[in-house]
Amino acid sequence: MIRFEKTLKRLDEFCEEVSIKYAVIGGVAVITYDYQRTTKDIDITVLCNLEELKSIHDKFIQSYLPVHDDSLNFFSRNFLLPVKDKITDIKIDVAAGLTIFDDTIIKRRIRTKLGRAEFYICTLEDLIIYKLFASRHLDLGDVEMLLIKNKNSLDKKYLFESAEKFKELEREDISENLQKLFNQQIL
């Protein structure tokens, strides 16, 4: 088992133990959906509300090393808690899932395996929407490859309907980019 597998396994056991609902997003999710690229850390979103930020922080800090000195302040201001696994030294970025979008991601999460580690992951469609929302070059490249690698297992209806909803939030680029990448792949 490599250190990333160990970290994912330990993270899953920890969240189970302290009753935190989470889903792996970001690079590790991309890798799990068959696009083999490297990443430097593990990104997760945890379901919580504003009042629970301190309790989520404290639970993580009991078992993980904070990357920043004033970690609670950093988490409260940025809604992101970077921590390190005490044994493997791999960084985990814990995002506070405070929005309805995070709620959807975690409700739809699925159990998966990467190597010998078992954990919860966001669905492929939610990962694509999340990446289109982030919209960096790296994210759009990931979406392009995810569409190629998973074209037969993709829920296209859900994907396009979700992208469409972002128009109301003045993010027309999400459905436009999705359409563009789809046309490019001739899916």
Binding site: F4, Q36, F79
Partner: protein
């Protein structure tokens, strides 16, 4: 015709027009300046299979190796860099607001 080009008879003798004829046929595709993505995708799809257990294991080992090299050669600042992730997180909250 631009005067820097050889006359027709000269081109014929020098073999340029023969080359053009060849280039207009099948050979031309080898010199296509833009990659043929459709053909590439078709080829990829034909040969695609989900990664095997062994391929996944090889990839995981490779990933760990790259990560170790990266972490030994980067500063702690680089290791803790999270600005882009914070931007996305705040943009999500800006668009959706806090869940009730």
């Amino acid at each position: 015709m631009p005067d820097f080009l050889p006359k027709a008879s000269l081109r014929e003798k020098s073999g340029i027009s023969i080359l053009n004829k060849i280039m207009n046929s099948d050979f031309k595709k080898f010199f296509e300046p833009t990659p043929n993505y459709a053909a590439l995708r078709e080829l990829e799809e034909k040969n695609y299979h989900p990664p095997t257990e062994e391929e996944i294991r090889n990839f995981l080992n490779f990933w760990q190796e790259i990560y170790d090299f990266w972490s030994q050669n980067n500063s702690p600042f680089e290791m803790s860099y999270a600005e882009e992730k914070v931007r996305v997180r705040k943009a999500l909250i800006d668009k959706f607001g806090f869940r009730a």
